[in-house]
Symmetry: C2
């Protein structure tokens, strides 16, 4: 039974949530470059947002700036880090060890942010026992027992589309709080489960749509 007419939680607006990681990345860059100070105008300029939007976004969480000065880069970075929840460690499992799964398992960029892949599962018996990111690949029939035994914050689904909903149901009914979904299907989950989609094809189709829109506009000019 799928959730219907679901209200987006009354919390922080989606747009703000989408921009938070972008601020985080940019602040990280600034800090690496040794910048100590940044204004909302500079932040906006660098990220193609308006200065007003930057200030408005940040003020959802507190007052991190100073009139006449702007923001201290490393202070703001610490704040954003906490806002994003990077002050703790997340245990993840990966289901599906195909090409995409392997790439996720060996992706370095979020390892050092506290996101740890604790176990990898696959149906393919040929893969079993192989290692990725320091994890042995385990048989998918063991998945349910695993999530019952080990608390898991995030389940990464990188299976073929046909298996995704089933895998999703298994982890959801065993209390996994959130899902990072790489398979190109819409997952049905109860309201309390968070799903973040990472749909390669959707993204590419958006691009091809906009390309065609552009070409059509160029033709008729």
């Amino acid at each position: 039974m799928s959730a219907r007419g679901r209200k987006k939680d009354s919390g922080i607006p989606q747009g703000v949530v989408s921009r938070l990681p972008v601020y985080y990345r940019y602040l990280l860059e600034l800090e690496e470059q040794g910048e100590t100070r940044v204004s909302s105008a500079q932040l906006g300029e660098g990220l193609d947002f308006t200065a007003a939007q930057v200030r408005s976004d940040l003020s959802f969480f507190g007052s991190f700036g100073q009139q006449g000065y702007g923001y201290n880069v490393s202070d703001l970075l610490k704040q954003v880090r906490n806002i994003l929840g990077l002050n703790r460690v997340y245990s993840m499992i990966l289901i599906g060890a195909g090409n995409l799964g392997k790439a996720i398992a060996s992706y370095e960029n979020f390892k050092h942010m506290g996101f740890k892949i604790q176990a990898i599962f696959d149906v393919d018996t040929l893969l079993l026992g192989n290692h990725h990111a320091g994890c042995v690949i385990q048989p998918v029939w063991y998945l349910e027992e695993y999530v019952q035994k080990y608390p898991t914050d995030i389940a990464i689904i990188a299976t073929p589309s046909s298996a995704s909903q089933e895998v999703c149901d298994i982890v959801v009914r065993n209390g996994v709080a959130s899902i990072w979904n790489f398979s190109p299907v819409h997952l049905n989950v109860p309201d309390h489960v968070l799903v973040e989609h990472m749909h390669l094809t959707d993204s590419l189709l958006r691009l091809s749509f906009r390309l065609n829109e552009k070409w059509r506009a160029e033709e008729s000019s």
Copy 2:
């Protein structure tokens, strides 16, 4: 010099563009299941949108339904396919043949939609000559000459962050119209170049933010 205060094109709203691939995927599923008919209400139900939104989205492009009946699945699918620009073939190149690059090159889901990777480039000389998705990996110093010689619709950037902007500049100054960016950096491009971001870390950080928001809400209840 970065684009500033860029106006989103006056065309189709972003939200609609984001949902188009979702409709496409779902219609494909329905057709495979042998469904011939679907209403905006069903479409909405299956995808957690409202029926009104579905109708409103589709009516940006024409009148594809019929009062009292709904939409014919395969007709609507054809329409959406054309709207997305899937009635032609796209030539793509991939820069960066690391784990992620390899996964993209061997990703089956968009090959049969007309997106063809024509060439793969990498700096790593050890990889040169290797094959992925039927392409030989070529040295990145050859990239500029390549894009001058062969018209390219989409450049896929899957390099380490430090190289992304440079690679981006090369393809942009040689007329590549659009970029599908997998590296976690904000690319500076002229207004006429389209960029579609596929930021794994950003997506994961959005998830961790929402997880924390949820946990905070649960605590204080």
